[in-house]
């Protein structure tokens, strides 16, 4: 059992190795493509459904309060800013940590337990580059895209709730939604979600790759992947928001 400092040291070195190996040949283009499909395309229904439901719920909540102040026209703007700046990136990352993190942790751990990783190594193939790097890269590339889908699904959910209450037209809703949205509100979260993707890919792969305890180890790797990815995402969010506000002060709500 590693102490926390050793653990963070090890997982950091693991992440640095993944980053370094991303840029050194041979490049695992086929594996990256397969993982992007698994991480991105297969997560899309979950992300869209969650975003849509969250958008509706948020609209229902905010409407009551804003009606009291006669500010119903602000509902689309509040919805858009909340999704673009914080809810979209964070919820998409947490959803991905659950769906993909557990999968990566369990799959790689199972490969370790069934000697598939040894099998790859025995063939002179670098198992780290073959298994870990494509998964980390897929998470880094796909999470920003999934976040954009979640943002727009959230807006659509908000629109449906708003239409039911006030019969607002789509064009007016979207026009109001984007009134206060500027480029930094897009760019900063994209960078943030890439970091979240890196955290999910690295933490999940780490727990899978380093497991050594049979079937129990596979289960533990899956659980630890989700728990640690989620925790690190939330902690990283605090730091990243501070950094983003420093670089893009105009992106503050």
């Amino acid at each position: 059992m590693l102490n926390p400092i050793e653990f963070f040291g090890e997982i950091s070195l693991f992440g640095v190795r993944a980053l370094r190996d991303t840029f050194s040949p041979p490049f695992e283009a086929n594996q990256v493509r397969l993982q992007m499909n698994d991480v991105g395309v297969r997560s899309l229904p979950l992300v869209l459904a969650s975003g849509f439901a969250l958008g509706m719920v948020m609209s229902l909540h905010t409407r009551g309060t804003l009606v009291t102040f006669g500010a119903t026209a602000l509902i689309p703007s509040v919805q858009a800013m909340a999704f673009f700046v914080e809810i979209g990136p964070l919820v998409a990352a947490l959803l991905l940590a659950g769906r993909v993190g557990a999968g990566i942790g369990a799959v790689i751990a199972n490969m370790r337990v069934t000697e598939q990783i040894d099998g790859i190594e025995s063939l002179s193939v670098d198992s780290f580059k073959f298994l870990v790097v494509p998964r980390v890269l897929a998470c880094v590339l796909m999470l920003p895209l999934l976040t954009l889908f979640m943002d727009f699904a959230g807006l659509m959910g908000g629109y449906v709730a708003e239409f039911a209450a006030s019969h607002l037209s789509v064009s007016l809703y979207l026009s109001r939604a984007f009134t206060y949205v500027e480029w930094p509100n897009f760019i900063a979260p994209v960078i943030k979600t890439s970091v979240f993707g890196f955290i999910i890919g690295t933490a999940s792969s780490y727990f899978g790759y380093t497991t050594d305890d049979g079937a129990q180890g596979v289960g533990r790797a899956a659980t630890n992947s989700v728990v640690m990815s989620s925790l690190l995402i939330i902690l990283a969010d605090v730091i990243l928001v501070k950094c983003i506000l420093f670089v893009f002060p105009e992106s503050a709500l």
């Binding site: 000697e115 025995s122 063939l123």
Partner: protein, 247 residues
């Protein structure tokens, strides 16, 4: 270290421990080119660890390991990669890559390490699959194969780079007598046709006596006997005599 009569594989006073548990203690032996050596011993005596040390999946705590002139304990990743290309490893459960078909499992090392064009890879893969009797199962995933077929596919993958040294970890475990005998025949044919040096870890004394030129007997991490079947039968160690004669 090499030459016709010198070992192509050698252990020199190799020791290995996992935490408190000492698995191998000062183990030394040599295997000449083209020999089949069967490693026998009770469970947990370090037989599989010996194979994993030979292909550097694990590192010894002390001692030297020679593979065809290379002392592998001091090699870096590139050196190890070069040595591993001369070796094949048949894992106990075959350890085929789950996501890939049988064909893709065999094509992967060829595509990565040889740079051969697709057509040549195709021919090489089909030839090896033909040898092990899996020519019709190229598109199957490992999960769709029976235990015996998985073992054959694992053997095919171990042979795909035409290794000089083949390591087989319990090739007959979990198989019926006939299928186990077929695997033994494949190992014998590989040695006879390609002069491959083969080290086999096994509990199957019947199969071992059929294919083995020499036998290494491990007990509590020590090598207590090494030699031909007759020499091991005359060993001073009762465990060695019992292991080689129980069939």
């Amino acid at each position: 270290m090499t030459g016709t009569h010198e070992p192509i594989v050698a252990f020199e006073q190799v020791s290995k421990a996992f935490g408190e548990k000492q698995v191998l203690r000062d183990v030394s032996f040599g295997v000449k080119a083209g020999e089949i050596v069967c490693i026998l011993g009770r469970s947990g005596t370090g037989k599989s660890v010996t194979l994993k040390l030979l292909i550097a999946l694990q590192r010894p705590d002390q001692g030297k390991i020679w593979i065809d002139n290379d002392e592998i304990t001091s090699l870096d990743a590139a050196g190890l990669s070069r040595v591993r290309r001369k070796m094949g490893f048949l894992f106990q459960d075959a350890a085929l890559f789950d996501d890939l078909t049988v064909y893709e499992n065999l094509a992967l090392p060829l595509a990565r390490l040889t740079g051969k064009p697709r057509g040549e890879i195709d021919v090489a893969v089909r030839n090896v699959l033909q040898q092990v009797g899996l020519a019709c199962d190229t598109k199957k995933k490992p999960s769709a194969l029976s235990g015996g077929m998985r073992k054959r596919a694992g053997l095919a993958r171990a042979l795909i780079l035409n290794p000089r040294v083949l390591l087989a970890d319990e090739p007959s475990s979990g198989l019926d007598r006939i299928t186990a005998s077929e695997i033994d025949d494949l190992l014998l044919r590989q040695r006879n046709e390609s002069n491959t040096t083969i080290l086999v870890v096994t509990h199957d004394v019947h199969g071992a006596r059929k294919i083995g030129d020499k036998f290494a007997v491990l007990d509590k991490g020590r090598m207590i006997a090494f030699g031909t079947a007759g020499e091991v039968e005359r060993s001073e160690h009762e465990i060695a005599r019992r292991l080689i004669s129980e069939w």
